[in-house]
């Protein structure tokens, strides 16, 4: 593949897509000079065809669900139905101004309200707010509500949030953003939370605990009810990180497990697109205790139709998280997806995500790869440790990852969770066929074989990508974060 120049390098002074701008320059003369920009901004100077061609060509340098199997653990890279996009982009939805009165947006509000209801049902929570704009903001929202709860009760001595050592990085980062200290809880050898350590850690300083269930090591936390009792008895609350909800959609509900608050990554379980890094949507569900603190705006429904509920209706709310209603268009996509699934479909999502994961785990194990918790059921994902390959053949999980790209497979999540050495967290999702899973197994076997023959070959991968392995150290040391002009 040829290299793509930067869009700036394609430009010539005075060029732009003339169909896209007003033909004449209107006057700005009533804006005093002191406020006026003096030097033109550095922006590309290109034609419309150049833009379309450049970004079409660039796009072809990406792996994506629409082009490749993408078993990125914890990320739920499944098919993003195209109708979700086209329906969310109907002109009637796209042209609606967020400050337009509720009366003119009943169709849009109806979708959101029904989505709230469906999400409350599948999570087993009392009420849902769609405001958070991604998983991490959902976490923030949840922990902020936990804090608001304690504060509202005058219980101000709670300073700690408990987090398993296998947790996603957003969990501890969120706790800190909410003004808490983080205390890590180790994972036991069987993959569940180490109960003894937990018992020790829980106390009057405990504001709450953040858990993912199935956990980030890909197994269902079996003693979840015990944990809930323990934490609740100590006066703490339970936060459910819903990144893995795909595994249990319609099969078990966080609310029933004892959780007080949950976020759902709609861009995972509800298949809104990841977009190369967002937008996501991190709806939160709350139980009885946190109901008063739910963020605004939320959609309400009464005899007059749908309306936005604000601070007047939810006086103890933690407040708003964005200027408007979060990632509204993403919510429409999730709504369309949820409606197409329906209740049966949701259950089947969990079932087939789990079937695919357990099958792939069995197959890799049968081919001699070391599964991390072989005695456990995989949830929708599982861990393979390439420790012995690293030791015996000298090729790391990172090397396997790069060589997988050459063979047409996006690499699984590597080196997360941190506690398993040389690990791959593998999540095939329910939308992939058995043949594709088998293709992945064969690729893994091939790479191991290649490593046996010539480890340096594997360590030199990738070979078939637009670039070979990149110098990340140079990237971080000799920071080059923007085009510097013709001189640069």
């Amino acid at each position: 593949m040829t290299q793509e120049e930067l869009i700036f390098d394609l430009g010539r002074t005075g060029r732009y897509a003339r169909a896209q701008a007003p033909a004449t320059t209107a006057g700005l003369s009533d804006i005093p000079d002191a406020f006026r920009r003096k030097r033109r901004a550095t922006l590309p100077e290109v034609s419309e065809l150049q833009v379309v061609r450049h970004y079409t060509r660039l796009s072809q340098k990406n792996f994506s669900i629409d082009t490749h199997f993408y078993p990125l653990g914890s990320c739920t890279m499944k098919y993003n139905p195209r109708a979700c996009n086209s329906l969310a982009m109907l002109p009637g939805f796209l042209d609606r101004h967020p400050h337009a009165p509720d009366s003119t947006g009943q169709g849009f509000l109806a979708c959101l309200w029904e989505l709230q209801e469906m999400l409350a049902e599948v999570t087993g929570m009392r009420s849902v707010s769609l405001a958070p704009m991604a998983g991490a903001q959902g976490e923030f929202t949840g922990v902020a509500m936990i804090r608001a709860y304690h504060v509202a009760r005058g219980d101000t001595e709670r300073t700690e949030i408990l987090v398993p050592d296998a947790a996603h990085g957003t969990n501890p980062a969120t706790a800190v953003m909410c003004g808490y200290k983080v205390r890590e809880i180790p994972t036991a050898a069987d993959g569940d939370v180490d109960m003894e350590a937990l018992q020790e850690a829980v106390g009057p300083q405990t504001a709450g605990i953040m858990l993912t269930n199935p956990s980030t090591v890909g197994v269902f936390e079996r003693r979840i009810q015990e944990i809930a009792a323990l934490v609740h008895d100590a006066g703490g609350l339970l936060y459910y990180d819903g990144a893995n909800l795909n595994a249990i959609l319609g099969k078990a509900r966080p609310g029933d497990m004892g959780f007080d608050v949950i976020h759902i990554n709609l861009h995972k379980t509800f298949s809104t697109p990841h977009g190369g890094g967002g937008p996501g949507a991190g709806a939160v569900g709350v139980g009885e205790r946190l109901l008063p603190h739910i963020p605004v705006p939320q959609v309400g429904h009464d005899d007059n139709g749908y309306h936005w509920r604000g601070e007047d209706e939810i006086p103890q709310t933690i407040g708003r998280l964005s200027a408007f209603m979060g990632n509204a268009g993403v919510l429409l996509r999730a709504y369309v997806y949820a409606r197409m699934l329906g209740s049966n479909g949701m259950v089947r999502v969990a079932e087939f995500a789990t079937l695919n994961a357990n099958y792939l785990m069995s197959r890799l194990r049968a081919e001699g790869f070391q599964v991390w918790l072989p005695e456990r059921r995989a949830s929708h994902e599982f861990i393979v440790s390439l420790k012995s390959e690293a030791k015996e053949l000298g090729v790391t999980a990172g090397d396997f990852a790069k060589r997988l790209l050459d063979l047409g497979y996006h690499a699984p999540t590597a080196y997360f969770p941190l506690l398993v050495p040389e690990c791959f967290l593998i999540e095939p999702t329910e939308t992939e066929t058995r043949d594709d899973l088998e293709g992945f197994v064969q690729a893994m076997v091939t790479i191991r074989e290649e490593a046996r023959q010539d480890k340096d070959f594997v360590k030199g991968a990738p070979y078939n990508m637009p670039v070979r392995r990149l110098d990340e150290v140079k990237a971080a040391k000799e920071l080059d974060l923007k085009w510097q002009g013709d001189a640069g």
Partner: protein
């Protein structure tokens, strides 16, 4: 069910390989009393055809006429090419570019985006996006407090001319860390902050000063004077700006003697549809010195094994997946696809095109407000330089008039009384390049008629 490819034969084969009898057996580690709750409140699944019909009906019901509301979200022309290319599967359905070699498309695009935003803001560096304008302001405040090593107070000055919705979001996000937003009052006759007002804080420990440009009322603040005051007082300057305006208005990097430290804001005007409030994206730029304090993804240019240019996420040691509780923010997923669109928008318009759009918006707003203030009972609330929004004052409460006109299909402006009772009669009015003469006629007529009736 609709998107699952498994045939019965597949299922049999797979269960046999795993060594279980049924798919249900795979869930046997879930305590029995938790299993299979049933989902009575979720309706049965429908086909794409059925949901298409529902959505078509709902979208049609939502269609509206001309729009004179801005207040943080602006109806601009979005070139068709932008979304036709942005929704290509390779952009739409990719994850965050963790595997750089398989994500050069997204990575190069973000590098180009960073270059464009830095160029537009006249700043050194940009990140790859934050959620939206409101949360971007919050992140900027947190970042400024981290970056301003000399300040210990956690006090941030925020003019009352800043977007009140941004202030709400910021308060929600930063207050748990004990930071305090202190309000700087504006001059009620001009709608901007008189720089002299800041004297009150001379010599105090202030971590940062927020400078909105244009401000909530559409007015242009004396950003240079405010910036220079902050510099003298050891406070960092956080610019919260409209990106379209920056094509013609002095950008943050050139404010005062040394420029602002952080520039952030709402990216929606750059090719993102209104879409009932989202998804949009927050942008953030900063001085070189503070890059390591920035939240969010950053892409850097580097070389591969063979010396070819390539792009990769960099400075990841700031981020939650590496630094966990010590990260600069908890942000992970950001607004990648929106940035993809904005990059194409900026490339299509270029500096000259964006100038034309900005100038046209200004001109349309000028012409509209001149006509509106010719109506009996309408006056200009704040005079003085503005970009593409102005506050008009009615002879009666604005909220009912807003609803009355909305029922006729005209979104007349934003009723400012929602945030400040003193402005109960005021409407914040915006007319972008999309507004036609006929649109204006319709508004002027409708308002004239509404006000002709007794209040």
């Amino acid at each position: 069910m609709p998107f699952i490819p498994h045939t019965d034969e597949d299922i049999r084969h797979m269960l046999a390989e795993i060594g279980v009898d049924s798919v249900n057996a795979l869930f046997d580690e879930i305590p029995e009393d938790l299993r299979d709750p049933g989902l009575p409140r979720v309706p049965a699944g429908v086909s794409e055809m059925e949901i298409t019909r529902v959505m078509n009906e709902r979208a049609t019901g939502d269609t509206l006429g001309p729009c004179f509301v801005g207040a943080g979200a602006y109806r601009h022309h979005v070139p068709a090419a932008v979304w036709e290319v942005t929704t290509r599967g390779e952009y739409y359905s990719a994850y965050t570019p963790y595997q750089a070699e398989a994500s050069q498309g997204t990575l190069q695009l973000i590098y180009e985006y960073q270059s464009m935003m830095a160029g537009l803001m006249a700043m050194d560096a940009s990140n790859a996006s934050l959620y939206d304008g409101g949360s971007a302001m919050a992140e900027a405040v947190l970042m400024a407090v981290r970056a301003n090593r000399k300040s210990k107070s956690g006090r941030i000055l925020v003019p009352d001319t800043a977007n009140p919705l941004y202030c709400d979001a910021t308060r929600t996000i930063v207050s748990n860390q004990g930071l305090v937003l202190e309000s700087v009052p504006s001059d009620p006759s001009t709608g901007v902050v008189d720089p002299a007002t800041l004297k009150k804080w001379d010599g105090e420990d202030i971590a940062a000063l927020v400078v909105p440009q244009p401000n909530w009322f559409g007015r242009l603040e004396d950003a240079a004077a405010l910036t220079d005051w902050a510099r003298r007082n050891g406070a960092l300057v956080i610019a919260v700006v409209n990106p379209t305006a920056m094509a013609v208005i002095t950008p943050p990097g050139e404010w005062g003697e040394q420029g602002a430290d952080i520039a952030c804001g709402e990216g929606q005007p750059l090719g993102i549809p209104l879409s009932s409030g989202g998804p949009y994206f927050g942008f953030m730029c900063c001085r070189k010195a503070y890059v390591r304090q920035m939240p969010g993804r950053i892409v850097g240019r580097t070389v591969d094994l063979e010396g070819r240019t390539g792009y990769t996420l960099t400075l990841q040691a700031r981020e939650q997946h590496i630094r966990r509780s010590k990260a600069t923010s908890n942000i992970c997923t950001n607004q990648g696809l929106m940035v993809t669109a904005a990059t194409m928008y900026l490339a299509l318009l270029g500096a000259e095109g964006l100038e034309r759009v900005a100038a046209q918006c200004h001109d349309t707003t000028r012409r509209l407000t001149e006509r509106l203030t010719g109506i009996d009972g309408v006056s200009l609330r704040f005079d003085g330089p503005y970009f593409h929004e102005r506050v008009i004052e009615l002879d009666r409460p604005a909220e009912p008039v807003f609803h009355q006109l909305a029922a006729q299909g005209v979104l007349a402006g934003y009723p400012l009384g929602r945030h400040d009772k003193r402005l109960a009669n005021a409407l914040l009015v915006c007319a972008t390049e999309t507004v036609t003469e006929a649109d204006m006629d319709r508004y002027v007529d409708a308002l004239g008629q509404a006000l002709a009736r007794a209040a």
